[in-house]
Amino acid sequence: MTLMTYREAVRRAIRKAMQADERVFLMGEDVGRYGGCYAVSQGLLEEFGPERIRDTPLSESAFTGAGIGAALGGIRPIVELMTCNFSLLSLDQIMNNAATIRHMSGGQFTVPVVIRMATGGGRQLAAQHSHSLEGWYAHIPGIRVLAPATVEDAAGMLGPALEDPDPVLIFENALLYNDTDDVEDLVEVDIDHGAIRREGADISLITYGGSLGKTLSAADALAAQGISAEVLDLRVLRPLDEAAILATVAKTRRCVIIDEGWRSGSLAAEIMARIIEGAFWTLDAPLSRVCSEEVPVPYARHLEEAALPSTDKIVIAALAVLGR
């Protein structure tokens, strides 16, 4: 076991993958000489050289597409996009090529590309650097969407993502990079299932990514009031672990979904729909959710806090579902 930050965990995962397979390389804006805009790739250029740690021009669409082409060509690119807001400049390549080429080619070609990007608010970076768009990507058949919420998942998801023959998008909530935990050195985790992060009996709190910490804090606060909350970390946003969702709801009969995306057309909405379809008769109360407010994320600290899910909002929503 080694104590490490989430940032170091991602870096170790990249290093491990590059040491294990010479086809693996990293490319993106400022990943080399700058060390990554979140310092994830610091030191990797010195270790692996500029052929495998590639600084790119500010051409998100071209270098994401080049990652797709390189994957088609038999190597294993890790493409880093600075933030999910910038990923919109590569959306054409992700949606129209990465997600479709296997299908359009009748299964002849696969696109084993991994695309990592930062997501989420909370750093006073305002409306072009703070959004949570992973729910949009989770709409697209043909790609896998991962949201590592723990240091262990940050360390362990990249390996299996690179082994996946299909495109994998990894959303790293930028507030998590300084989180610290003990992690096994060679950890690999599965990228198919959600994980129960806290067992409980009275209510299920379903979340992912940057909201997991807030949700666990809310569970602590509820415990202080004698309420036993179960916390499900989805981990994989596409394909959703529907069995885990239905299982926790069947157990507690009440549920709040916490999603940093906007409420309308959100991943939270999809999860609610799955619960309605699959577990309606087990419910003892209407479902509820805590999402970001329907506003571009503002700069001012108090306004940004008001816009994003918070521990207090989660507690209030849970109490309401419990009729308290």
């Binding site: 080049a66 390189a70 129209n96 090529n97 080619s105 002849q108």
Partner: protein
């Protein structure tokens, strides 16, 4: 009809090859248009008729190990790269024997065996893919070329500029082939570009960029061979702008309000097949019997393709969700 310094020897055999390849594309597509009116082929159908010299000429410079990325007007490129007429026609019929199992249709022909990477229907969307394929070759130490075909309309897209810059910056073995047919669907080049010289745009990225008469198959072949030779020598990308013209509608629903009939007729006078065939006959390189033999062979190939497609089968609808992602452990 070509630069006397060319390195292409116009032997009778080679003349036959060039005419044969252009006619394969022409007759195949004429049949497609006919089948479209019979509703055997549906969706969009973008014909390459008039532009055959471009893909035919360029393909002479490529080997089986080289990759091709093309656009939605790619039946000819697929045929010439070696995808069978049967598999292409079956694809257009939506049959599972098609080269994309009926999942792609006319705009998305794919074939792993011949390294044919589509069939991309987003204008300029294939350029980054070509850059990536070339990057994979470079990082793997393989000496191969990726040829990327696109129309002049692509030059208006950011992906065109981003991709050219990336390929030149990283010195990647991409042969960019711009098929400049003067119209992006219905918008003329001079209505959409402040600088209409596409090769000049490419030259800005410090890559070898040439313009060639895309109605002259020999000129295209020469230019392509030179570009590929230079590419192998330097490892750096090359750009070829082929000035050509589409004789038919953009797709099948196009009254062609944006151009004069006289203009189309003038270009047809310079038609690549007519022009090459007339020259080859006049110069004695080919005899009328050669042309007849080629026509007969092509007609056979097209008829066999249609028979194959007709006899093909539709994939059971229960298979709908296949080919979206790998079957995974759960």
């Amino acid at each position: 009809m070509s630069d006397p310094a060319i390195k292409v020897r116009l032997t009778r055999k080679h003349c036959r090859t060039l005419l044969h390849q252009m006619l394969r594309v022409r007759r195949f597509e004429e049949k497609c248009a006919e089948l479209y009116t019979q509703e055997k082929i549906r969706g969009f159908l973008h014909l390459y008729i008039g532009e055959e010299a471009v893909a035919t000429g360029v393909m002479q410079a490529l080997g089986p190990e080289d990759a091709v990325v093309a656009t939605y007007r790619e039946h000819g490129h697929a045929l010439l790269k070696g995808v069978s007429a049967e598999a292409i026609m079956a694809e257009m019929y939506g049959k599972q024997e098609g080269c994309s199992r009926g999942r792609g249709g006319s705009m998305h022909l794919f074939d792993a065996e011949t390294r044919f990477y589509g069939g991309n229907a987003i204008v300029a969307g294939g350029l980054p893919i070509a850059v990536g394929l070339a990057l994979a070759d470079k990082l793997s130490g393989r000496k191969r070329v990726t040829a990327c075909f696109f129309g002049e309309g692509a030059a208006a897209e950011g992906e065109f500029h981003e991709s050219l810059n990336l390929a030149a910056l990283w010195r990647l073995p991409v042969l960019f082939v711009c098929e400049n047919n003067l119209y992006a669907m219905g918008t003329a080049l001079d209505l959409s570009e402040s600088e209409t010289d596409i090769a000049a745009k490419a030259a800005c990225y410090r890559m070898g960029a040439k313009t060639v008469d895309g109605m002259d198959v020999v000129a295209v072949e020469v230019a392509a061979r030179r570009a590929v030779a230079s590419l192998h020598e330097t490892g750096a990308p090359q750009f070829l702008e082929c000035r050509t013209y589409r004789f038919r509608a953009h797709s099948m629903y196009d009254p062609q309000l944006y151009r004069a009939k006289e203009e189309v007729e003038q270009w047809k006078e310079r038609g690549p097949i007519r022009r090459f065939q007339e020259w080859a006959l006049a110069s004695g390189e080919l005899h009328p019997e050669d042309v007849q033999e080629i026509e007969e062979e092509v007609a056979r190939e097209v008829a066999e393709a249609v028979a194959f497609a007709e006899a093909g089968t539709f994939e059971p609808a229960e298979h709908l969700l296949q080919h979206v992602g790998a079957e995974r452990r759960t």
